[in-house]
Structure formats: structure tokens, C-alpha cells
């Protein structure tokens, strides 16, 4: 039995529908990251599960029971908000303890639980301070502690790392998975950062255009994205998208880039004649000085560093711009000018233009 179930839930406002009959299940102890661009309704989804908002249609089940009409205080979930939402007039200790005082637990039990969670999140030494005296990182951990302290079966985390500086965010990204797994809760984790989604989630639910576009494990979403939209949401820099129309040929299906014919894997032969979009990730494009089979001419326009990779802006013969990335920060920066680009057959992602859906290669 799934621990969390969202069934055909819709929610709209005067400006229009934000979520349209979406469904999602999460198993006991699973971490599901809800990922999508800003405004896609991720926070709204969490609020619907928490009971702070009511759906227009659909049901929400927690632990197998229908809670759609239940008030938030009766749902037994823990929630951490994006902007922390700590109570300014209470100490950090009281903030964390608020999830336990509602149950009228005895004081020593409360103290023990609060201190345990505080030690886990390394805020034990600031528990007596008021929120305004805490650093951003400490506030974020206090908000997390408050969500965790009552050991809820369902944990809702609304982009908890968003308002924290980059170093701390990275550190928490490394520590959070084991922390969340240890809590045993089923977790819905909202984020706008695809790396965070991939790092933390057992599965990722990609929310875009009022519905889940793809729900799967991180590796599958990255390698076999269901739609063009999903493909472009994962990967830095964004995936290259080139309009092509495959041609049938005795040597298998071919596509043209800037006047050069290149082979497609045979599994795409059935797409000949249809307008498609070819997706190539920057890291799968090799740039060389010499031509080779299956390479096409390009002009290197710009070379910029990106983290520990080098990004090359290329222009094809028909004027299109694509990005290639090479590992390592280049010692001898590549000169601008003519070069050749090549990609392997495993890198090919083909999407149907009209629907945006990915075409699965057919077995021979």
C-alpha cells in the first residue's frame, strides 16, 4: 500500500488552472523529488498535501486514508517551508518543539526529542536564540528540525536549500539523503535545481504544464526523457535541439545538419519523412580539428569556462548554434575558427515535433 497517494487532483485560481488532474504515488520511506520550473505549481502541490489548500477535484490519501477534507493539524505531516516560516517571537527551541506541544507531550519527552534532532542538524548550540539572531543556514536547519522532530510519516520539504548560500547548499545536498533515509519518512522534496533533484530523489516527478510530464528514476529521466521539455530541464548547459527530417536510405535513416548527411541509429527508420527534433547533450558532442566519418563542419565562435568544463559555442553551416562541452578546464584554449563536430549513436535522442514526445527506437 502506498504511503502517499495523490489521485487526479486539480487546483485552479482566477488566473487559470495550475494543476490538472495530476496523480502520484510514493511508497513507504521513498524520497520523491518534485521538480519543475518556477510557477509550475510545485509549492501548491505540497500545500494541497499538507491541507493548507483544498483541491478543486481529486483525492489525497495518506497512509491509505482519505484526508482530502481533513484540516492540516489532523494530517500528521511535517513540513519545511522555502522561506523558513519560523515563529519570530519564540526561541529556536520552542520553534522546533511546536510540533510536539500540539500533542501535549510531557516536557521532558519534548526536551529529549528536540535536543536529539538538534544534535543531528548541528544546531544544539543555538537553541536558545531567537530566529532573527540565527544565520540563514541555522534558520534553514531549524525549520528542518521542526519538520522532523515529531517523526512524521510524511515529510514535505519545499525547496529548503533555495535560500541558503552555495557552499552550505552543497554540503546539505551531500548530507540530506542519509538524514532523510534515517528518518524513515516518505518524503516529497520540491526543488528547482535539477542537480538537487537527481542527487536526492529515488524518483523524480517532473511537473510542467499543469501535469507530471515524467515520473521515473533520475538516470532514466536524464537518458530517456519523455518529452522535449523534460529533456531541456535537465542538463547544464541546456540540451541542443535541432530540427531535422530523417531520410530513408539504403544505409539506414539519415539526417542533415548544415548540409552534411549523418547516420541515425537504424531503430529510427520508421520516422523517415516526419518532422522531428534531434536532442544532443553538450557533453556528447566531440569537437576535433580533423574531419572523420560522421562528423560535420562547424565554426567555433566562443570558448567559455563552466565549472570544470569548457563550453564551446559552435555554428553549423546553416547558421544554427549548438553548444559542446569538453571535460577539464582547457590549458591551451581552443582557437576560434573552423572545426568538426561528431556525436555517437548512443547520444541520439529523437523527439516528434508535433507532440514533443520522445520516439523510442524500434527493435530491428
Amino acid at each position: 500500500m502506498a504511503n502517499l497517494e495523490i489521485r487526479s487532483v486539480s487546483k485552479g485560481f482566477k488566473t487559470g488552472k495550475v494543476l490538472d488532474r495530476i496523480s502520484l504515488t510514493a511508497e513507504n520511506g521513498e524520497i520523491v523529488t518534485v521538480f519543475g520550473p518556477s510557477g509550475s505549481g510545485k509549492t501548491l502541490l505540497l500545500r494541497l498535501v499538507a491541507g493548507v489548500e483544498q483541491p478543486d477535484e481529486g483525492t489525497i490519501l495518506l497512509g491509505g486514508r482519505d484526508v482530502t477534507d481533513r484540516a492540516p493539524e489532523a494530517r500528521g505531516v511535517g513540513m519545511a517551508f522555502q522561506n523558513f516560516a519560523l515563529f519570530p517571537h519564540m526561541s529556536a527551541f520552542d520553534n522546533v518543539a511546536s510540533a510536539l506541544t500540539a500533542q501535549n507531550a510531557p516536557r521532558d519527552v519534548i526536551r529529549a526529542k528536540v535536543e536529539k534532532v538538534a544534535a543531528l542538524l548541528k544546531i544544539g548550540h543555538v537553541l536558545q536564540h531567537a530566529p532573527r539572531e540565527l544565520s540563514n543556514g541555522q534558520k534553514q536547519r531549524t525549520a528542518l528540525a521542526r519538520a522532523l522532530v515529531a517523526e512524521p510519516k510524511i515529510l514535505l520539504l519545499d525547496d529548503p536549500l533555495r535560500n541558503v548560500d552555495a557552499k552550505l547548499r552543497y554540503e546539505m545536498r551531500l548530507e540530506l539523503p542519509s538524514l532523510l533515509k534515517a528518518s524513515g519518512s516518505t518524503v516529497l522534496y520540491v526543488t528547482q535545481d535539477y542537480k538537487e533533484a537527481m542527487a536526492l530523489g529515488d524518483r523524480i516527478a517532473v511537473l510542467s504544464d499543469r501535469d507530471f510530464a515524467h515520473i521515473a528514476q533520475p538516470a532514466e529521466i536524464y537518458r530517456k526523457p519523455a518529452t522535449i521539455n523534460v529533456a531541456s530541464l535537465f542538463g547544464d548547459p541546456t540540451i541542443n535541439l535541432i530540427s531535422v527530417e530523417p531520410l530513408a536510405s539504403p544505409a539506414g535513416p539519415k539526417i542533415g545538419i548544415g548540409g552534411t548527411l549523418l547516420s541515425l541509429p537504424p531503430g529510427y527508420a520508421h520516422m523517415a519523412g516526419r518532422t522531428c527534433v534531434l536532442g544532443l547533450r553538450a557533453e556528447d558532442i566531440a569537437v576535433e580539428d580533423e574531419t572523420s566519418p560522421e562528423s560535420f563542419p562547424v565554426e567555433v565562435l566562443a570558448v567559455t569556462p563552466l565549472n570544470e568544463r569548457t563550453l564551446l559555442l559552435l555554428r553549423t553551416d546553416d547558421g544554427g548554434e549548438i553548444l559542446a562541452s569538453e571535460a577539464g578546464a582547457n590549458e591551451a584554449p581552443r582557437r576560434h575558427g573552423p572545426a568538426f563536430a561528431r556525436f555517437g549513436s548512443r547520444a541520439v535522442l529523437l523527439f516528434e515535433s508535433a507532440s514533443g514526445r520522445r520516439i523510442a527506437p524500434q527493435a530491428a
Partner: protein
Amino acid sequence: MEHMSIAERVVRGALIVLVVIFFLFPIFWIFLMSFQTNEEILRIPPGLFFTPTLTNYSALITGKLVTVSGTLDIAFMKNLWNSVLLSTASVAIALLLGVPAAYAFARFKFRLGEDIAFTLLSFRFAPPLLVLLPLSLYFQQLGLTDTYVGLIWVYQLIALPLILWIVRGYFEDLSPDIEYAYRVAGHSWWRTFTRIAIPLAGPGIAAAGLLAFIFCWNNFVFALILASAEKQPVTVGALAFVTASGIQYGQIAAAIVLSVAPTLALALYAQRYLVEGLSLGALKG
């Protein structure tokens, strides 16, 4: 600010001094008058130097005014007490009714909500004289004329809209997320209202209450029409100094000083309170 020249600074300072003198002068003069006898007050030209006397104050406090034509009873202390009673009770009731109402307006978006809120505010716009005549007729029918209850009820017209609008603003400024967090933690909406919303809007509620108190205290027209001498506040009571044997300017001045003192003190105290403000350090940044 850093780029003003000396000349600009001097002119700015001089203008500020002039404005301050313009506004504070009447109060200063009245303060002086309260320590002068009638003869000194009416002297022409008016002099700044005189021997101060406390007879005006003692007359007010003892309730007896010794004049040339005899001794008069002055009910000033009773009036002062009426002012305190009416203003305090009115504000207390207005807070009791207004704060939850303000919360409802701020949090629960219901149809016509904005219209209802504006209607309530509009009561402040209408000149009191407009409603007084019909109101006094109703009061007579209901037997509410010359009762504290009746006056306190009418004073709600002054206090309630004020509290509603000010406190609603403070509730709206509170991030709803803080209240959601408390509810998700397991607390009912009532506990959230009393433990989270009210404490956090506290400065606003106090400020609104103080402001409402001052407005109630200063009200003249309602008490004039709807109350008798026994229930009158100081605003109306000051009329008693216009006696058959002449206008006792000295006592009026002293009465004014005593009437203004409480609200002035409250306003100064509240100013500090308001400046403290809300420190919503619980939100990011």
C-alpha cells in the same frame, strides 16, 4: 543627505524650527495661561513674565471655584473620570470585536469582503452631526440616553473602523506561511490565532488601540447630545467654564492641560512602541 552644503543645512534647520513653533505655540501659550489669573490673561499687551499661581488647578481639583460672585461647584474631576471610563471601555470592546474581525478580513477571502470592510470604514467619513439627530430619537425610545452603555455603543462608530483597518493591515503583513507552519505542526486555527497571529500583530493592535483611545477621548459631539452633565467627558465639561459671571479662562486653560495630559503621554509612549516595530527575522534575510 551627504551632499548638502552648509547653507542648505542651515535653511533646512531654520524652516524646521519655524514649523515647530507654529504648531506648538498654542499649546505652550495655554500651558502658560493655566498658571495665570484671569486678570493677567486678559492684560494687553500679553506679558511673558508673571508670578505663577496654582489657584486654577486647585479649583479644578477641589471642585470649588471662588469667584467674585460666589462659590461654584465644578464637576471637572467627575468629567475626567467619565472620559477615562468611556474611552477605556469603548476601546476594550472595540478591540474585542475588531481584532477577530480584522483577522477574518485579512485571512478569509469571502465574497463582498472588501465591500463590507469599506462600508465599515465609511462610518468614519460621515460627519457625526448627520446621524446624531435620528440617533438621539432612537436612544430615547430605547432608553439609552444618558447611559454609559449607550455612549460606549455609539463610540464604537469611532473606534471600531479604526481598529479594523489598522489591525487588518498588520495581519495582512504577516506571512501566512508562519501560520500554516503552526497549523501543520498540529495546532488548531484558534490556537494559531491566539498564539501566533495576535502576538505578532501585537504592536499594531496596541497602536490601533492607543489611536482609538485618543479619538474617543477627543470626541465632543456624541457626548454633548446624548449625555447629561453627570456622564459628560472633559470635552463637553469644559463648556461649564463659560459661566454667567464671566469666562474663566484660567480654569479653562488648566482644564485643557489636564485633559490633554493623558493622551499626550500615551501618544509619546506609543511612539516608542511603534518604532520598535515588528522584526520578522524569522523569514529569510
